[in-house]
């Protein structure tokens, strides 16, 4: 519980600081928040196993690891959001940004360490509702509001359906505790339906096809750091929660959810890929990319084994660094070009900003699963775990899809290196924190795979 408590404390400190510090205080607030996040990270570095409230709260060591990872990811997002938050419209509500983000993080903490559907649901909603505010954060931007509206309504729709599913689970089993549910679940059609409803609810968070439709709109409309946050942190938490619950709760229905996941994975990856090819807007493009990545993450869930769990968490780590590197670059370029996020803006970027392009390239390669970057390893482990469980056909289809995904990642690389441009984005220098975050991402991309330590550390739990 200490992670949640310390996070709550941080939340309160920032709230107070936001109140006390004199405006404009966005810079100081950023420094403070980042420092506190580092503290939070250090405090929770050692994973713990804890069960509280009669099993309502059950934080396994793995969940603890996931929380640490999510914290680290959030820290990276904070580091990247400085420039955006110093804008005219946003500087006076920088505190809100941190507060809302940390609230969602807290929600995710609860989500991943829930021991009962009640806490899980509360955590989920705690993670969703502030997220809506974040998406609609740029309140003078038409798209931001539109994205927010779409997100909140579809989110409510999905949570209503999920809740309906949960009510059926409760109705048939008489309990909402994860520990008791497996004995009560028998795989009746009603329970199957309930599982699908529940799965759809998490599928919504994870943006799996066909529950993904909000994703591109929300990503495109949301401010860039928020898109980054949405794409990695919330997705990572949801994926872990999904796997956790499918493994722990729906144990008697393993075959059924295996089939369900297989269908979803193939759909997700394929549909996301064909949509991604057509995108010009980089943020929207990254939305589809993240949908397809979710499909790959789901392969680890599909595996449903210890190996799969490790692969999943590892995948999340790698995915966080790579994706945040991309969003970091997008954000940096966006700030320089008055909000341009279309691919043409990147034409010839290498000539003027070689380092930024380099980071972007490596991150994209990592996302595409090209060795020696971390993405290759994470993909491999995910495939291996799903293969081990016997879903080789699904793995095969996912692999074939990597060709398409490579294609669209290369399109951006092509824009930066190959496509000629008379007036590329002029050379610029980002803020120190942004640069640090990119360097951290870069180190992660390069070293996470080659140094097997991280994977083996995760594997221990």
């Amino acid at each position: 519980m200490q992670a949640e408590i310390s996070l709550a404390v941080i939340l309160i400190i920032i709230l107070l600081a936001d109140l006390i510090l004199k405006a404009p205080h966005h810079k100081a607030l950023q420094t403070l928040t980042c420092t506190l996040m580092v503290v939070q990270l250090i405090l929770n570095l050692v994973p713990v196993n804890q069960e509280l409230f009669g099993g309502m709260y059950n934080s396994t060591t793995m969940a603890s690891v996931v929380k640490t990872i999510l914290t680290a990811g959030t820290l990276l997002v904070f580091m990247q959001s400085g420039r955006w938050l110093s804008g005219e419209d946003t500087r006076h509500k920088a505190g809100e940004f941190y507060l809302l983000t940390l609230s969602t993080l807290l929600g995710m903490y609860f989500m991943v360490s829930a021991g009962s559907f009640i806490l899980f649901y509360v955590g989920l909603e705690l993670a969703s509702i502030p997220m809506v505010c974040l998406i609609a954060f740029d309140k003078y931007r038409h798209h931001s509001a539109e994205a927010g509206a779409k997100f909140i309504l579809s989110s409510m729709f999905s949570s209503a359906l999920m809740l309906y599913g949960l009510s059926l689970v409760y109705g048939t089993c008489g309990t909402t505790y994860f520990a008791d549910l497996p004995q009560a679940l028998t795989g009746t059609p009603l329970q199957l339906m309930a599982m699908v409803f529940f799965f759809a609810g998490l599928g919504f968070k994870l943006s799996l096809v066909p529950f993904h439709m909000w994703t591109p709109d929300a990503y495109q409309g949301a401010p860039t750091p928020v898109s980054g946050y949405l794409s990695v942190i919330s997705k990572g938490a949801a994926a872990f929660a999904l796997m956790n619950i499918l493994l722990k709760v729906f144990t008697p229905m393993t075959e059924e959810w295996g089939l369900m996941l297989s269908v979803t994975i193939v759909l997700t990856i394929t549909i996301a890929n064909v949509f991604a090819i057509l995108q010009q807007d980089l943020k929207r493009f990254m939305a589809y990319s993240s949908i397809s990545q979710a499909g790959y993450i789901l392969l680890a869930v599909l595996a449903g084994s210890e190996q799969g769990m490790t692969a999943l968490v590892y995948y999340i780590v790698v995915y966080i660094v790579a994706n945040l590197a991309v969003f970091g670059v997008i954000g940096a370029v966006e700030q320089q070009t008055n909000g341009r996020v279309d691919r043409e803006a990147y034409n010839g970027l290498y000539q003027t900003n070689p380092k930024l392009s380099f980071v972007m390239t490596l991150a994209l390669f990592s996302l595409a699963g090209i060795p020696p970057f971390a993405g290759f390893f994470s993909k491999f482990f995910v495939f291996a775990s799903a293969f081990h469980t016997g879903y080789w056909l699904v793995v095969f289809l996912a692999l074939v899809n990597t060709i398409i995904s490579l294609y669209y990642y290369l399109l951006i690389v092509k824009a930066m290196y190959i496509t000629p441009n008379e007036h590329p984005v002029p050379a610029f220098r980002s803020s120190a924190l942004m640069r640090t975050s990119l360097v951290v991402c870069l180190i992660g991309i390069v070293l996470l795979g080659i140094c097997s330590g991280v994977y083996q550390w995760i594997d221990k739990f």
Binding site: A149, L161, V196, A200, V274, F275, L278
Partner: protein, 629 residues
């Protein structure tokens, strides 16, 4: 006989030196390096021959087969490996003499002929390369080594034919020569593969055991090898490259396309002779039939050609046909009982090499003098070029089979062998011999007598060649004069035992009479200023004459096969197929993906209701999937 390695090493060394450093050398030095090394080779060859043939015979009365050098060059399996070595037996030693002699003469001759040519050093480098390859071919210890050098001579021939690489005809001719022989070599290679697999050896003498076990595939192997030989030796219908190969410098034609390389096929058959006799006599007879037809075909074409080198080329084809026939008509290993042809063929190979080289070198002098290959620019040259004239005449007499010139003796043996095999072949060959005499003397008269092209000769007076060109002529003429008296059967015969050549009076008389008649005919038609008979015949049988002049349209047939069939009907469609079907299929898949994306894109309509409908639809779908499966 360890020094024999030098026979191979010296030309190779000279090639390397000239190829690497030749461009920096003056012409004289480059030529001298080539010629001197070849001189040394010739001396060594003679020495080898001398010591080989003077050594003791074995108990069976044959000369022993020696292998002074043999190294494992490329191993395949325990039994199968390509060795590189030197094997001395009567025919290889005989070939050593032929090659080194002719090559030396050509080297000397080229000093004069190629004087001042650009690429003089290159020329000598290639000559060295060729000589090396040819020597390597004849001393091969196994069939694969033979193939290796076989390919090398092919390439040297390619390089030398294309020596004047700025001349389009030369480029085409060299290409054609290489590709046609390469095509034939394919047969050779497959033959070797079959041979190697079933005999479990590449040597010429498979073990008895393997022969017993797999003798029945030998006809295939040998037949395919003969295809290779037919390609190199310009047997019909693979002969088409040889006339075109005359685009090369004339000394090259003398060396490669008259004396040495083109008889490689004959040599190959002779090499495999024991196996042919033992296991594939029918294939051997096919060799004879093909040889006979080629001899006839080439002789008839030669009668109508106007380019003197072409005439000589067809004459070469025809004469090689004779050699093939000689080998083909053999029915046993015993020269006394049907095995005479082997000795006769080898003998003819030897004498033919000398006088044909002489003819070509003579032709070279003539071309050198009038700067053209066409007969119409010549005529009456006997007054300008006495030495050339005399030596040329000697060669013509030799090839026509007039005693005491060498050709008579060898051809006579061939005819005898043919008559022993079957009178039909015998008579056919006799008639072809007559045709030979006719077209050679047609050539002779048209060059040295006949109608002189006075205008041209006035503008540019033909002159006798310098000594370095005439010396080889005289030398070869001397050899031609005396070679017939060499007791050839003493050295070379089918079973290796000594065989005394004795003239069959009947055959000899017939052939002399036929030859004389043919010469007379040629004299009547072509010796004078006016040639009414010839023109009348050409006019009356214009179709035939034209066909013969066009070589019975064989080139056109080949052009059709290569251009139309390979180029147009296979390659072009294939390339099209590759670009437009296979490649487009890959593009098509990409396009499909894209098109699919464009098709489904409207689903992402931007309306929340659509989104949630898909959401609910997805749930229903998944539930159905779970319930149904």
């Amino acid at each position: 006989m360890d020094y024999t390695i030098l026979i191979l090493a010296l030309p190779l060394l000279s090639f390397l030196v000239l190829a690497l450093a030749g461009m920096k050398m003056p012409h004289r030095v480059a030529g001298a390096i080539g010629t001197l090394s070849l001189g040394a080779v010739a001396v060594l060859s003679y020495l080898t021959a001398f010591s080989y043939f003077t050594a003791e015979r074995t108990a069976e009365g044959t000369y022993p087969t020696l292998t002074p050098w043999n190294i494992d060059w490329l191993p395949f399996t325990q039994q199968l490996h390509i060795d590189m070595g030197i094997m001395l037996d009567p025919i290889s030693v005989m070939m050593l003499i032929v090659i080194s002699t002719v090559s030396l003469m050509v080297h000397i001759y080229s000093f004069g002929y190629m004087k001042g040519e650009k690429g003089f050093q290159r020329y000598y480098a290639f000559l060295s390369l060729f000589t090396f390859s040819m020597l390597g071919l004849v001393v091969a210890t196994n069939i694969f080594q033979m193939y290796v050098f076989w390919e090398l001579v092919g390439v040297s021939s390619y390089l030398l034919i294309g020596f004047y690489y700025t001349k389009p005809e030369a480029i085409l001719a060299s290409k054609k020569a290489f590709i046609v022989t390469r095509f034939a070599d394919l047969g050779f290679l497959i033959g070797i593969l079959i041979y190697g697999y079933y005999m479990q050896t590449f040597t010429f003498t498979p073990s008895e055991e393997q022969l017993m076990k797999a003798g029945m595939v030998l006809p295939w192997a040998l037949g395919l090898m003969f295809v290779g030989g037919a390609g190199k030796s310009a047997m019909f219908p693979l002969h088409i490259w040889l006339p075109d190969a005359m685009e090369g410098p004339t000394p090259v034609s003398a060396l490669i396309h008259a004396a040495t390389m083109v008889v490689a096929g004959v040599y190959l058959v002779a090499r495999m002779f024991p196996l042919f006799i033992g296991f594939a006599p029918s294939v051997l007879h096919w060799v004879a039939y093909i040889g006979a037809f080629t001899a006839f075909y080439a002789a008839s074409v030669a009668c109508a050609q106007s380019d003197i080198k072409r005439v000589l080329a067809f004459s070469t084809i025809s004469q090689i046909g004779f050699m093939m026939v000689a080998l083909g008509v053999c029915t046993s290993m015993n020269p006394h009982e049907g095995g005479l042809g082997y000795m006769a063929g080898m003998f003819h190979l030897f004498t033919h090499a000398m006088f044909k080289a002489l003819l070509f070198l003579g032709a070279g002098c003539i071309i050198h003098a009038v700067h053209s290959n066409e007969m119409e620019t010549m005529g009456g040259l006997h007054k300008y070029m006495p030495i050339t004239h005399i030596t040329f005449l000697i060669a013509c007499l030799a090839i026509a089979g007039i005693p005491p010139f060498s050709g008579f003796f060898s051809k006579d043996e061939i005819l005898t062998a043919c008559f022993q095999f079957s009178p039909v072949i015998g008579w056919v060959m006799t008639i072809i011999a007559g045709m030979t005499a006719f077209y050679m003397f047609r050539l002779y008269y048209c060059i040295f007598w006949g109608k002189e092209n006075k205008e041209l000769h006035a503008a540019h007076v033909p002159h006798e060649s310098p000594l370095n060109m005439t010396f080889p002529l005289m030398f070869l003429a001397a050899v031609t004069l005396i070679a017939g008296f060499i007791p050839f059967g003493h050295f070379v015969s089918a079973n290796g035992e000594s065989y005394d050549i004795h003239l069959d009076i009947q055959v000899a008389a017939t052939s002399i009479v036929v030859a004389l008649i043919a010469i007379g005919l040629a004299t009547w038609m072509y010796a004078r200023e006016k040639q009414p008979v010839a023109e009348m015949l050409a006019r009356r049988y214009s179709g035939l004459h034209r066909a013969a002049y066009k070589r019975f349209y064989m080139d056109e047939v080949w052009m059709f096969v290569t251009k139309r069939i390979i180029f147009r009907c296979i390659s072009t469609p294939l390339a099209w197929f590759d670009r437009h079907v296979i490649d487009q299929f890959m593009n098509f898949m990409a396009w499909c993906t894209q098109a699919f994306g464009v098709t489904v894109q409207p689903a992402q309509s931007g309306r929340i209701q659509t989104y949630t409908m898909w959401f609910l639809g997805g749930i229903i779908l998944l539930t159905l999937v779970l319930l149904l499966f």
